[in-house]
């Protein structure tokens, strides 16, 4: 009799195991290339969140499928197609920059696979798109935060440097330009650069002649750090401000002394975790990586994963992409690593921003700005 019971229990157990499925979630990130720093920090967040919460409520396991898009649009298109058609993923996390995310969305939209973008801030990404979602703020919000700050500091004139090859940069520049003008600021010049440029001495010399109160550089760290360095060399000492595109340690490493006093908007500050969930993640991050400081991209990577899992848990069939997408858009006051996040019907996140300033080689917290 005992034998029979244990046999029944054993078979029930095996049945249970066999029933729990493995569900694939795609992660498309630039793990190599010039913006690999973003991909690696964001993917760390996705992986840590997966370690903390590898299973759904119904016992299914989440398997992450990571693909490297090298920060390239063609690789992004190929990667998105591959994740959807051969790996059959339920949703895709990534692929970070706005240009690449727009590329991925245009493909995923047709296949009805939701994308949860951790850090793609361009305003237009989610317009007229059903399957595009994000956990970060948009550029119009970010641009307004910077413009408000500049005006409050009494800066009346600005020079804007825009990277014409990046959707992110163009969008953020436009948002700042509008907000700054509306508040009475004067834009002296808009100078265009292209990502990949290294020599900005000519640009810096031009800015020096224009003599603005304030410089806004909605760029990524490779270009922004070089501009800061060459500005110091040529004796241009104006306050410089960037968006979240420079929110990483690589920027400080590349910029060295020249980025002292440099300011930027960010999503999250690990020295001021906004909630218990956040503090727990910071602790887990330290345990796993040995580093106290959590990059905001890591926090947002984790949040994109967590919000997706939360939405999947609310669907009867978590592999049903259409239902998962609907549930993502119903996210209200989600207790995320990077703070409280709500997602509206367009897929945009409603959340706060923080302003940081680089002091003695560290990005220090300055203020939190609510929407």
């Amino acid at each position: 009799m005992k034998k029979l019971i244990s046999l029944a229990v054993a078979s029930a157990l095996t049945c249970g195991v066999a029933l729990a499925k493995e569900i694939k979630v795609g992660a498309l990130m630039p793990m190599t290339g010039t913006i690999a720093a973003y991909g690696q920090t964001a993917n760390l967040g996705v992986e840590l969140a997966n370690k903390l919460q590898p299973k759904l409520k119904n016992g299914d396991t989440i398997k992450l499928v990571l693909l490297d898009n090298k920060g390239d649009k063609v690789e992004t298109a190929n990667g998105t197609t591959r994740l959807i058609s051969s790996d059959k993923v339920v949703a895709i996390l990534g692929p970070l920059t706005s240009s690449n995310t727009a590329q991925a969305i245009s493909i995923a939209e047709k296949k009805h696979v939701p994308i949860v973008a951790p850090v793609a801030t361009n305003d237009k990404l989610t317009t007229k798109r059903e399957y595009a979602n994000r956990v970060c703020f948009t550029d119009s919000f970010q641009g307004e935060v910077v413009a408000n700050y500049a005006i409050s500091q009494g800066y009346k004139s600005a020079v804007l440097l825009v990277d014409q090859a990046q959707v992110y940069s163009l969008g953020l520049a436009k948002a700042f330009q509008k907000a700054f003008k509306d508040k009475g600021g004067k834009l002296l010049k808009k100078i265009k650069i292209t990502s990949g440029d290294k020599d900005f001495k000519a640009v810096v010399s031009q800015i020096k002649q224009l003599n603005p109160d304030f410089l806004f550089l909605p760029l990524y760290h490779p270009e922004a750090s070089m501009i800061a360095r060459q500005s110091k060399q040529l004796g241009l000492t104006k306050p410089m401000f960037s968006g979240d595109g420079v929110a990483n340690q690589t920027f400080i490493d590349l910029g060295g002394d020249a980025v002292e006093g440099y300011m930027f908007t960010d999503f999250f500050d690990s020295t001021n975790p906004p909630s218990q969930t956040s503090a727990d993640f910071v602790a887990f991050h330290e345990k796993e990586t040995g580093k106290k400081e959590v990059n905001s991209f890591t926090a947002l990577g984790a949040d994109s994963y967590n919000i997706l899992i939360d939405a999947m848990n609310r669907c009867e069939d978590p592999t049903d992409s259409v239902c998962v997408n609907k549930e993502i858009k119903k996210t209200k006051d989600f207790d995320g690593v990077s703070g409280k996040i709500s997602i509206d019907k367009n897929g945009n996140a409603i959340r706060s921003a923080v302003i940081k300033e680089i002091k003695s080689g560290k990005a220090g917290y300055k203020a939190t700005v609510n929407p």
């Binding site: 808009k190 265009k192 001495k201 000519a202 490779p222 004796g235 060295g256």
Partner: protein
């Protein structure tokens, strides 16, 4: 536009142009001898910068020793590249060589991505290179005047080797006719190896100075610089060493002039450099210093 800003921009253009010039010399030399546009040249420059990074950041060697060692290693790499990839194709059509060069370029880029990772690393610039000088209202850093000086010295050295030494004579003879030179008792393969060694050594110097001026190293850093140096070599007259230097300055000044006079078009400065290339190819296909492509070199 005041005169000071204009002069400052000229200083900027001079420092940028000399950097392109340094790398263009290597392109032009290999072309002169083998009629091969060595598209891996920009990546050799990247390898040079990484060698410099390794010696300085990892082994903490002084800057002078770093340059010396990087030059030696890059020269060896250039010779090795020739032995493995180009030597077996000496008799093959030129197009095979060109494709091989592109292959090596991709190989180097990807090999370094695997070993060094794709994240740019900060190059440890020696502090005296970051010294800033103010002369009559013009500002420049030590690094931005060192490069033109180094370029000039190296140009003179290369011209000396080409025109005053036995090896230089062999190189020039080789550029006319490889087969005949072989028959006359000169080891053509050795001379070609020397050319590759010299070219790669120059690329390494270029790479290290590039990294000093723009202190970050990453595996793709040689792609755009290589293309622009190639444009410089063609503008100056491919095959001519002096032409390469002149071409380098022209490309550098073109970029700066675009930003100075049309800041809104600053983002298209690369396009201007290549438009220049197309115009030269249309109206003077041999470039400024180049002679008939089928006749003499250097």
């Amino acid at each position: 536009m005041d005169i000071l800003t204009f002069m400052q921009q000229m200083v900027n253009g001079f420092s940028l142009g000399s950097m392109y010039a340094l790398i263009a010399i290597g392109y032009t030399m290999v072309y002169g001898v083998l009629r091969l546009i060595n598209f891996a040249h920009g990546d050799i420059m990247m390898v040079g910068a990484f060698l410099g990074y390794t010696f300085m950041a990892v082994f903490n060697l002084p800057f002078s020793l770093t340059i010396l060692l990087s030059v030696v290693f890059a020269a060896l790499l250039g010779i090795l590249m020739d032995k493995i990839a180009y030597k077996p194709l000496r008799e093959a059509p030129r197009i095979s060589l060109l494709i091989t060069a592109i292959g090596i370029s991709f190989f180097l880029e990807n090999a370094f991505t695997v070993f060094a990772g794709g994240v740019p690393r900060a190059f440890p610039v020696p502090s005296y290179m970051e010294n800033i000088f103010n002369v009559a209202g013009l500002t420049f850093s030590a690094s931005s005047i060192t490069v033109p000086i180094v370029t000039m010295i190296l140009l003179l050295a290369i011209l000396y080797v080409l025109y005053k030494t036995k090896y230089g004579m062999a190189i020039r003879a080789l550029s006319f006719d490889i087969k005949t030179v072989n028959l006359m008792g000169v080891d053509a393969n050795m001379i070609i190896a020397i050319v590759f060694g010299l070219g790669s050594a120059l690329a390494a110097v270029g790479g290290i100075f590039w990294a000093v001026n723009y202190p970050s190293v990453e595996p793709m850093m040689g792609v755009l610089v290589g293309l622009k140096a190639f444009a410089a070599a063609v503008v100056g007259g491919i095959g001519s060493v002096t032409g390469a230097v002149i071409g380098g300055f022209i490309i550098g000044f073109t970029e700066v002039v675009v930003i100075t006079f049309f800041p809104e078009l600053g983002g298209y400065k690369d396009a201007f450099a290549f438009v220049f290339l197309i115009l030269v190819l249309l109206f003077k296909p041999t470039g400024i210093m180049g002679e008939d492509l089928e006749k003499s070199r250097f």
